[in-house]
């Protein structure tokens, strides 16, 4: 219980940091901290495999990509503009409402659910084998589709970024009068 409270507080502080810190690199670091705490929470839930994936993919690759773009663009902090202020109030209200609604559903739910101690042998200690079995038997089509999605994502990202490079080459050719 204590572990959970400490982890949740860290996670919430990290998440609040992401949305309040002005310097994007600090915000990104805060998000990394949130993701790592989440990984530790998975460990407390005995989801070791997922915790490792969370760190390798999320913290180790996705967030590095974020930092890369932040540094490439040299993005500075955001100054709130007057004509955008009303959005902030809307955001507050929506967020509060959403939190209230979801928390209410979560706590008012009459169902009594089993606790973590009753976990089966297959899932204890990470359950990489159990996950693999589910992934390649029940979800094999979804797995293939995710593969296609990732490939599409890569091609899309590369083509989006590439366009400018050919444009620069064309500009240079025009400038040099060839």
């Amino acid at each position: 219980m204590l572990t959970f409270v400490v982890l949740s507080v860290l996670m919430i502080v990290g998440a609040v940091g992401v949305i309040t810190l002005k310097q994007p690199v600090h915000a990104a670091l805060s998000l990394v901290a949130t993701l790592l705490t989440l990984a530790v929470t998975y460990v407390t839930l005995q989801a070791h495999f997922l915790a490792a994936i969370q760190v390798i993919v999320y913290a180790g690759a996705i967030m590095v990509l974020f930092l890369f773009v932040i540094m490439l663009l040299n993005i500075q902090g955001d100054q709130p503009q007057p004509h955008f202020r009303w959005m902030q109030i809307v955001a507050y209200l929506t967020a509060l409402l959403a939190a209230g609604a979801i928390a209410a559903t979560a706590f008012l739910s009459p169902r009594e659910l089993p606790n973590a101690e009753l976990m089966s042998e297959a899932l204890a200690g990470g359950g990489a084998a159990a996950i693999g079995e589910a992934l390649f038997n029940d979800f094999v089509l979804a797995f293939q589709l995710v593969g296609v999605l990732l490939l599409t994502g890569i091609i899309g990202a590369v083509s989006l970024v590439q366009r400018k490079a050919t444009q620069t080459a064309k500009d240079e050719r025009e400038l040099s009068g060839v």
């Binding site: 959970f4 949740s8 996670m11 919430i12 998440a15 992401v18 949305i19 994007p24 915000a27 998000l31 993701l35 989440l38 839930l45 997922l50 994936i53 969370q54 993919v57 999320y58 996705i62 990509l65 974020f66 773009v69 932040i70 490439l72 663009l73 955001d78 709130p80 503009q81 955008f84 959005m87 902030q88 955001a91 967020a95 959403a98 939190a99 979801i102 979560a106 706590f107 659910l113 089993p114 606790n115 973590a116 009753l118 976990m119 297959a122 359950g127 159990a130 996950i131 992934l135 979800f139 979804a142 995710v146 999605l149 990732l150 994502g153 890569i154 899309g156 990202a157 989006l160 970024v161």
Partner: protein
């Protein structure tokens, strides 16, 4: 006693924080980071529910969510790079032109 409801509440709080960031930030990268918080809020729920129901399916869903997040971030950041190149800033403001 730690129950599933605690995890669901944590997920709800994270989701709300992410939602607030998504709506209030103007910096495109910050908005995308808020989306990551939303996804992680869902991950908390999915993993917790899977564990409390003693099933591996939730872990599989979580894997899918992480994979989709990776694709989303790659495409999103590529788009933002183009926004930056066209406008010199990476905020949502220049994108208002799209409605004109």
């Amino acid at each position: 006693m730690l129950t599933l409801n605690h995890f669901l509440a944590l997920g709800a709080i994270l989701f709300a924080i992410g939602l607030y960031g998504l709506l209030s930030r103007r910096n495109l990268v910050a908005i995308l980071m808020s989306v990551e918080i939303l996804l992680n809020a869902i991950l908390v729920n999915v993993v917790a529910i899977a564990r409390f129901n003693d099933q591996a399916q939730g872990d599989v869903f979580a894997l899918f969510i992480i994979a989709i997040a990776a694709a989303e971030v790659a495409v999103g950041l590529a788009l933002f790079l183009n926004v930056f190149r066209l406008n010199g800033v990476a905020t949502v403001d220049p994108l208002r032109r799209m409605k004109e």
